[in-house]
């Protein structure tokens, strides 16, 4: 296979673009896709201070690397959840990236200040993944608010977003479909959240990381058991092989139609239980959490609810960041 531009031997085939690229032209392509996402969804500008949430995996480290390459003002944020050797290795990789970029990495010592995530999940009687989600979301926003960052960026990619859209549609969770977008605007104490890699597949991101010699943690989190997400990704990748461009079209056309207002009315069709009762999030809000004062969907935010299950003799966990 030859590079579509220079006819040199290609390093990656991109059937969805009917293309193949050599290293140089693939890296150009990658950069253009990130710039296009930032521009077309109005994510941020070079005046913004961007907090990049890093986990040590390929997506978040690639995101930090490319935003730095594109001369954006970035700082990394790593949350140490105390998942044994996995956390130690992932933290070290984030620290290495910070050093190589010459950028600051902020670390939230959650496991030391509050509890290892597994202990918290057990105390709160929640799954490990949902507990981790609450804790991460909380600190992404809290650190950005307290340290004066305008934007919180995460490494979600086209596969993540297409799989999520598919999952929500399969379950007719239209209230979630309505909220899905690569930019969540700032509102009432909630910082703007963006996904600049939303136009790129996992394979393209892994190729970028490989070609730039970015060392990332290949292992899955040992506590992650989200086989449903993997199932949807595999289904989409099988369709994609037979019909290149389908995954891209499925997700990007959803975004374009939504932006144009063609999907208005989705939120009015909240999920309905068989008995006719509506389900979904509590209406109204965001409110101010009565415990920590940060935005919340109810009287007490999810973070304070779950950390409230820990031994009360501990220091109040939400004061640590």
């Amino acid at each position: 296979m030859k590079c579509r531009i220079c006819r040199e031997t290609a390093v990656i085939a991109l059937p969805r673009h009917n293309s193949a690229f050599c290293k140089e032209h693939f890296l150009d392509f990658f950069k253009r896709q990130v710039q296009r996402a930032i521009r077309e969804f109005r994510m941020f500008s070079r005046k913004d201070r961007i907090l990049v949430c890093v986990s040590g995996g390929k997506d978040s480290l690639t995101l930090w690397h490319i935003l730095h390459e594109l001369n954006y003002d970035t700082t990394g944020l790593y949350i140490d959840l105390g998942i044994g050797e996995y956390s130690k290795r992932s933290r070290r990789l984030c620290e290495d990236m910070a050093k190589s970029l010459g950028r600051e990495l902020k670390v939230v010592e959650f496991s030391k200040a509050v509890a290892p995530i597994k202990d918290l999940a057990r105390a709160a009687k929640r799954t490990d993944c949902s507990t981790c989600g609450v804790v991460k979301r909380y600190y992404f926003n809290k650190v950005a608010l307290e340290e004066g960052y305008n934007v919180v960026a995460t490494g979600h990619n086209l596969d993540d977003e297409a799989a999520r859209l598919l999952g929500n549609l399969l379950r007719w969770q239209l209230e979630f479909v309505q909220k899905q977008y690569p930019v969540l605007e700032e509102e009432k104490g909630l910082k703007r959240k963006v996904k600049p890699l939303c136009r790129l597949t996992e394979q393209e991101i892994a190729a970028y990381a490989f070609l730039n010699r970015i060392t990332y943690l290949r292992d899955e989190c040992p506590m992650s058991h989200d086989s449903t997400s993997l199932l949807y990704k595999e289904a989409l990748n099988r369709i994609e092989l037979q019909s290149p461009g389908t995954k891209h079209f499925f997700y990007l056309q959803f975004l374009y139609r939504k932006r144009k207002g063609n999907l208005k009315g989705l939120s009015e069709n909240a999920a309905v239980e068989p008995d006719g009762a509506e389900t979904g999030d509590s209406k109204g809000g965001p409110f101010q959490c009565r415990v920590c004062g940060l935005p919340s969907s109810g009287q007490i935010c999810s973070f304070c609810k779950i950390t409230g299950y820990l031994d009360k003799s501990d220091q109040t966990p939400y004061e640590h960041a």
Partner: protein, 71 residues
């Protein structure tokens, strides 16, 4: 024989020359779910492997990803 390091870390041997795409099909590995690596080189699935090659198939699909909703 060419050596193939599979996404799960196991190694198999394959008689070369052979097109990588055919090997992936035989192994039931979707070509959009791996990077095909030979040394410090990335390969496209149409490339041929020879008997002395060592090819690594690096998985690229990660599992559950945290959704960063506002609340």
């Amino acid at each position: 024989m060419a050596k193939i390091i599979l996404p799960d870390g196991k190694t198999i041997e394959v008689k070369g020359p052979r097109e990588i795409r055919a090997i992936l099909r035989r192994l039931n590995i979707l070509e959009n779910t791996v990077l095909i690596v030979r040394g410090d080189e990335l390969l496209t699935p149409d490339r041929m492997i020879e008997d002395d090659d060592t090819i690594e198939l690096i998985p690229v699909i990660s599992g559950g990803s945290l959704e960063v909703s506002h609340l």
